[in-house]
Symmetry: C2
Subunit: 459 residues, 2 copies
């Protein structure tokens, strides 16, 4: 009996897809090549997952768990020797605990469904990003996703109170506590969050919730210097008393390009300023929040930090302002062969980083099509995108930009993870000693290297 | 040459204390017995720490790193075979980065000194607890300390952006990043935070800072039901828009006892209500914050949730209200042989837990001197204290209370850690499978078991 046959017996044949049929579906959201794998199994509960892993561990069979298949670093890419496991049947979301501000959900639950369940009882799940409609909770946690609200609520790791997961040998580790303080020995959940499915399979979590804000105030602001932007971020953190939820910076090149693309001739602000920010505060009192938001921007104008500003006067106008930050259609058309970076940097190094990156591209890849720098400035997280006409220049672009990131003490992966795409660049951010400890942990928890082998750690 | 002689050569004789002399100092803040150890060494930098650990690892020499020596679970208790390492010479605090809201400090820095450095530039270090004047940063991080501000800023783990530590074999792991998003492989720092010095020695950290609030509003509120307290917590989380910094619940028995002790006949509120809360909000706008605070309490009064309330009208009155929560002199005098618990529970189980604990003590330890329940309710964290006249009843008290904690899905250590004191009760909160993984991690990172041996994990 093959391993796949044994897995069929565990989950039932109707919950399996043989390799031949998988070839009919694209690999993931980003890649239309056929999915190549031995087969896919869809367990219905944690016991079946434990049995699957136990079987695969005995058979030295590589296993990749997939979520919503929108990973940005090829983190669930399979090959002809791997078994795929989908957790899409484990999608139960318990009723949120309104006293305790927590909710328990299985790994296959879709992020947006969790958000909606919580919204029903006036609670907010603090994780939100573009793929909310497809991404699974398990994928979000195993990649420690970031996104739009991290400034206020933290990254995926910060949302987790309790966790259940299954080790490579089928052992179930369950610690589904719903309180934030728990110093009973080592905090094991931290190992499985953010390790991209290489140390264990997350099956369930208890998530921290927050009161759902009821008011939104949004502004687009132009600045004439980076220091003025940095001062504004601190001013808003202070003056908006905890209601600040987004602070998205855009360098001029991206802003001017995308505003033209989105608005044609009716730009909400002039295009001549070096920096722009879309910022948003969410609170609980319509009048008080609006005055506080306006007063904060007025004080910054008064202090000479703000060059120009527009405050959204309707939810329609709010969406239009956000389009400048979120609509990438024109950028995708511009950058024929797009190369993008997900960088963390100390705020104080961001301006120099962007200048160096522009210069090095000019020197080393003179046919580049421009450099777009935007990001979640409140999290120290920039997204940097360029394009080159020739695909054979991609590696050069990566090499020179990763060096600039390292030079400024940056992280080569802020929120997307390492997967396959950044595995060979990991040394720019982590020392040989650190990678050696990572390998030791991998060997301890997955001695037969069956869990998502070849991802994260350089081979 | 003995190991201690070799260590002398590393740090210089004047930075060592031989075992004989150590006997002259008390073991720690809580225990006046003489310190028993082979000797103490005081390294001056991370290279010396690496050399010390490397030497001890080769010699299979047990090492205990001590901080401010105010650990509550005997976490740094030594014996005649251990070497003590003090990091008191590594107490540098760099200038806080006001753009990035971060500060880098060495492990021997005292918590209050870090707070003061940050205050100087209008920033807040979000960790604060009773031992602030003695506790070292290294101790706070290795025990994942909690304290008074966790509701707002999180526990010690949540303050850490980057970490430097030394492994048992002397390897230095340094990842001193100052940004909150960093998905470059496994988040190794999480292993060393909260593992009580058993997996590595923390030597330096980059800490997250926040704008320092400039206003304080404090109230003492009486409630006639636990559900009303729970509703008030959620109301304040929502209506105070992120300024809520403390929400400390007191059950009647403690409140009535301590109010009489602190105030004699001039109690600020009647003593007949079952629950009391001291709550505090810190913001940035004197008038607006005061109105917001008063309006929130007024609305709860209107809704029938608040039985009675007093808002501090001066900083003097604020300190007096806090004395009811923080002055334990009378309690220490009452409970001749004190037995205390540091518990986490879901908010929805707190009331039943306290009832069960009272009942089980009445049944099994009828000579108990009362049960005082107070705690950081916003963190799910209760501190439970009782006293028995006979010290030989201590074990019975612990056994029955830990069982009640386990019955309600609680944690036997919310913020104090495990150390020696709770090691043998760990099974009430963690499964055999979890403890087995903890042991595997310990073997991987400290194969010769030299780091704080015998702590945390049951022998």
């Amino acid at each position: 009996m093959t391993t796949f046959d044994a897995l069929k017996a565990i989950v039932g044949a109707k919950y399996t897809v043989p390799g031949e049929e998988l070839a009919e579906r694209p690999q993931d959201f980003w890649n239309n090549d056929p999915t190549i794998a031995l087969g896919l199994v869809r367990p219905g509960n944690v016991e079946e997952i434990a049995a699957i892993l136990s079987q695969c561990d005995r058979d030295r069979q590589a296993v990749i768990v997939e979520g919503g298949r929108t990973n940005l670093v090829h983190g669930t890419r399979s090959n002809k020797d791997t078994i795929l496991v989908s957790l899409d049947r484990l999608n139960t979301i318990e009723a949120p605990d309104t006293d305790n501000l927590s909710v328990e959900a299985q790994s296959g639950a879709v992020i947006e469904s969790i958000q909606n369940e919580c919204r029903r009882v006036d609670l907010r799940f603090g994780l939100d990003y573009g793929a909310r409609g497809s991404a699974h909770l398990g994928g979000a946690l195993s990649t420690n996703a970031g996104g739009f609200q991290a400034l206020r609520y933290g990254v995926a790791r910060d949302q987790v109170l309790g966790l259940e997961c299954v080790l490579a040998d089928g052992t179930v580790l369950s610690h589904l506590v719903s309180y934030p303080k728990d110093n009973t020995g080592y905090d094991l959940k931290q190992l499985f969050i953010g390790s991209e499915g290489t140390l264990g399979v997350i099956t369930k979590a208890v998530l921290r919730l927050h009161p759902a804000p009821s008011t939104t105030n949004t502004a687009l602001i132009a600045f004439d210097s980076f220091n003025a932007v940095a001062r504004m971020l601190n001013r808003m953190r202070r003056d908006l008393r905890g209601t600040l939820s987004s602070f998205e910076i855009m360098w001029n090149e991206f802003f001017a390009f995308n505003t033209r693309a989105v608005f044609a001739d009716s730009a909400p602000l002039g295009l001549e300023h070096p920096f722009y920010v879309i910022c948003e505060a969410e609170g609980f009192d319509q009048d008080a929040d609006a005055s506080m938001f306006e007063a904060c921007i007025a004080a910054a104008l008064e202090a000479g930090d703000v060059a120009d500003a527009v405050i959204a006067q309707s939810s329609q106008q709010r969406l239009e302002l956000w389009k400048i930050r979120e609509d990438f259609e024109a950028e995708i058309a511009l950058f024929t062969n797009m190369v993008d970076f997900d960088v963390s940097l100390p705020v104080s190094r961001m301006e120099a980083f962007a200048e160096d990156a522009t210069q090095v591209l000019k020197d080393k890849v003179p046919d580049n099509l421009g450099l777009h720098v935007i990001g979640h400035m409140g999290d120290g997280n920039l997204h940097v995108t360029t394009g080159v006409p020739r695909i054979d220049r991609t590696k050069t672009v990566k090499d020179v930009i990763y060096q600039i990131i390292a030079k400024h003490g940056g992280s080569i992966s802020a929120e997307h993870g390492v997967g396959l795409a950044k595995r060979d660049y990991l040394h720019h951010s982590r020392s040989a000693a650190e990678v050696a400890v990572m390998r030791a942990l991998k060997s301890t928890l997955d001695p037969n290297n069956i869990l998502n082998p070849g991802k994260v750690l350089p081979i």
